[in-house]
Amino acid sequence: MTALLILLCIILVGIVLVQIARVVELTAQIKGEREVMRESSWWNAVLSLGFLVVFLAAVFISSYYYKNELLGYGPHSAASEHGGAIDSMFNVTLFFTGIVFVITHIALFWFAFKYRWREDRQASFISHDDRLEIIWTAVPAVVMTLLVVRGLDAWNTIMADVSENEDYIEIEATGQQFNWIIRYPGPDGKLGARDYRLTTATNQIGQDFRDRKNWDDVIVSQELYLPVNKKVRVRIIAKDVLHNFYLPQFRVKMDAVPGMPTYFVFTPIKTTAEYRNELRKYPEYHQPYDPTDPQGPKRWEKFEYELACAELCGKGHYSMKRIIRVVSQEEFDAWYKQQESYYMSQIRGKDEDPNKGKVLDIDPPASDANAPAKTETTSL
C-alpha cells in the first residue's frame, strides 16, 4: 500500500514537472527568445554561484564533521610503525589537492557567473597563451614530483621484507571461504611446510606433519594476540579464491593468492588498551556500544583491532572478521604458552598422523624407557 502511494506521488510529481516545463516553454514563446535567454542566463549564473558557495560550504562543514575519519586525525590514527608515513602522505596530498580543488572550483563557477551571456557582449578571442600554459604544466609537474618522491620513499620502507638476523615473529594467515585460518610458529619460531594436496577436514591448511617444524605450530581459533613493538611478518595465502588480509588500524593490506604466498611486515605500536584509552578522548566513543543498551559499556571500552577481507571472495566476503589483541610482551608470552600445538592436540596418534606408531622427541615422556631415538623421526 505504501509502495503504491509512493508510486502515485512519483507519478504526480512527474506530471507536475512536465506541465511546468510545458508552461515555461509556452511563456517563452510569448516573451520571445532573447528575453528567455536573458532570464535563463541570469538565473543559471546565480545558481552556479550559489552551487559554488553551497558546495564548498558542504565540503568544509562535512570534512569538519567527519574530521575524525580522516587518516591521521584523532581516533583514526595509525596503530603501526609504518602507518604514520601513510597518514602523513595522505595529509600532504590532501593539502595540495585541497588547494587545487578550491581554486579551480572558484575559478570555474565564478567565471561562469561573471561571463554569463549578455546581449551586448562579445566574447574575447583568446586562443592560447604559451606562458600561462607552460606555468600550469610545470607547477603540477613539480608538485607531482614531490609527491612521488615522498610516496615512493614511504612505499619502499613499508614493503621492505625482514632482513636475516632481525628479531621478528612470523605468523601465517590463510584465507578461505569465509574465514581466516591463523597459524603461529610455536616455540621453534618456524612455520612448518605445507602441501595443499594434504588438505583434509581436520588438516585444513594441508600441513605436512612429517616436517618437525609443524609439530609445535599453533592454529589460533579465537582472538589472535600480537606483542606490541615487535615486528610481525605475516605470510598471507589463500586456499580457494583471492582474499585480502586487511587490518585497517595498522594500515596493512595484502592480497591472499592461492598458490602464491605474499607477505606484509608491520610493527604494532599501540596495545589494544592504549588504543582504547586514546579513543576515550572523543565524545563519539562515549556512546553506548550496543545502542539498545544505553547503560552498557561504551564504544571505546569495547574497541578491538579487527581483521577483515578486502578482496571480493564470494557471498560471505563481508563476514571474514577476526579480532586481534595487541598486548605487552609479557602478556603475549603468557598467552602463547597456553596455546596448544595443533598437531599434538588434534592429529597425534589419529589415523591421519603420518608419524603414527613412532615416538617423537616432543612427545610427553613415555612410560616406556626404551622409546626409539629421535633419529627415526622424519623431517623435510
Partner: protein, 622 residues
Amino acid sequence: MAEMTKVAVDSLDTLEEKLTREMGYDDHFHEHHHGDKYQSNFLTTYIFSTDHKIIGRQFLITGIFWALMGAMMSLVFRLQLGFPEADLAWLKPVLGKWIQVNDAGIGKLDPEFYYALVTIHGTVLVFFVLTAGLSGTFSNLLIPLQIGARDMASPLLNAFSYWFFFLASVVMFLSLFLSTGPFSGGWTAYPPLSALPQASEGSGAGMTMWIVAMAFFIVSALLGGINYVTTVLNLRTKGMNLWRMPLTIWAFFITAIIGVLSFPVLLSGVLLLMFDRSMGTSFYLSEIVVGGQILDRIGGSPILYQHLFWFLGHPEVYIIILPAMGIVSEVLSVHARKPIFGYRAMVLSILAIAFLSFIVWAHHMFMAGVNPFISNFFVVFTLIIAVPSAVKVFNWISTVYGSNFRFNSASLFALGFVSLFISGGLTGIFLGNSAIDVQLHDTYFVVAHFHIVMGVAAFFGMFAGIYQWFPKMFGRFMNETLGKIHFWGTMIGAYAVFWPMHYTGMAGVPRRYYDGGASFDSFRHFTELNQFITVAAIIVFFLQVVFVVNFFYSIFNGRKMTTKNPWGANTLEWTTPINPGHGNWPGNIPAVQRWAYDYGKGGQEYVPQYVPLREGEHDHGH
C-alpha cells in the same frame, strides 16, 4: 542587435551554399545517388540500417536501456546498504527467489544476488553504457558529420558493430534470469572466483554467459574502433587536416586507437579464463582447495589474469572519459562563444593521456602481491597523468574566462563535467600513490573516486552531447526547462551520493560488503550517512527518469528545429540539412578552410569551418 545576428546567420547560409557549390568538392554523389532504395521501409531504415546516424542512435537507445537497468540495480543494493533492516518483500515479485522472506514476513536480499547486482551494475555501466552508449553513439554520429564524410569507411562492419553489441546485450540480459543467478564475482572477474563454479553460484552458467556477452562486446568494440580509426584517417574532407579537426574527433579517434589496441588483450585474457573454466587447463589456477575438494590444477597464476585484464581495464577508463572530454571541449567552446583555450595543448594532452594509459595498469594491483619494486614505475607513470589532466582542466576554465557564456542544458553539463573531473581526478592522486593506496585500496574511497571521475563525469559528458546534438539526431530540441532541472538536480544529487563515500573510505570501510561493514566495530558507525546516500541515490534516479521522459517525449513532440545551425557552431555537421539522409550532404561536401574554433574572431560571433581565410588571416589550427 537581434536583427543583426539574424542577418549574419542568413548571409552565412547563402555563403555556405555558394562556397559548397564552388569550393566544396564533388564526389559524384549526385550521379550515383538515386534515392537510397533501402530507405523505403521501416525495418531497413531504422533497424538494419548501415547509416552511421541511425547506428549512433541505436547505440544511444540501447545504452539508455542499460543505464536504466544498471541504475535500478544500484537502487536495490543501495537499499540494502542504507536500510539493512528494511523489509524488501515488496521486491519479491521482481526478484523472486533472491528475496528471502523469513517467518516474520520480512524480506531480505540474498547476499549472492547482492554481489550479482554489484557485478552486473559495474559491467553494464562500464562497457554497455559508458563505452558503447557514449563512444559508440557519438563516434558514429559525429565522426563522418564533423570530418565531412558520407559515412564510415565500412558501413556494413559498422552495422555489425551494433548488432554484436545487441547480441552481447541479449546474452547479458538473459543471464539475469538464470536459476543460479548472473555472474557475481565483480566486474573485473578475477579468477579463481570467476573460474570455479564451486566457489560461487554466479561463477557457473552466469559466468559462462558473462564471457560470451563480453566476447561479443569486444568484437563489437573492435569493429567499431577499426571503422572510426580508418574513417578519421582516410575520409576527411578537403582541407580537413589533422590540426583542423574539432576536439571531439581527436578524442574519438584516440579513443578508438586505445580500444583497438587494448580490447584484444582482454579477449586473450578471457579466452584463457574460458579454457581454465571448461577445459581443465591451469593458466590462472594453482593449488586450490575449494569446498573440501582438492583440485589438480598446478602452476597457474591469478596475477597473470589481473595483468591481462588491467592492460585493457586501465585504458578502458580512458576509453570512457576521453570522448566525454572531447564533447565537453566542443560544447564549452560553442556556448562560451570563444575558442577552446590552448587547442594544441588539448590535443597533445589527449595524446599524452592515451600513451600513459598503456603503462599504468598495475596501479590497480599495488596490493595484489606483485613485486613491490615494480610498483615504483607504475606510481611514477600514474602520477604523471595528473599533468596532462591538469592542463585540460586549466584550459577548460580559461575557455570560460572572458566568454559570453550561454547557459543551456548542454553547456551546464559541460560545466558540471569539469567540476566532477576536478573532484574525482584529485582523489586519483591519493590512490595512485602506492603508499596511500595501502590503506585506501578496495575501500569506499575508491568507489567515490571512480564514480565521480569516470562514472558521473562521463555521464555528464554524455548528457552534454545528447542535449547538444539531439537536434542533429532528431530534428527537434529537448525541453530546456526539464533539462535544467535534470542538470541542477543531478549535479547536487551526484555529489550527495558520492562525496560522503570519501569519508567512509578514509575510515577504511571496504567496498563490496553486503552489510556495509555492520559486523565490524571499525566500520559500522555510518548508518545515517549510508541512509543519506541511499535517499540521494533514489532522488538522482528519478531525475534521470525525468531525462528519459524528456528524451523520448522530445523525439516526437520537441520544439522543431527551424535553422540548420541552432547553436551557431563552426563544425560541419551543422551544414547538413535539418534531417540529413544517408550520405549526409545532398550536394557537394563542403571543403574546410580553417580550424573549428573561430568564435568571436574579428568581431564576428562565429566563423564556420567552410569560410575561407581572409587575406593575411592566421589559421589557429596550424
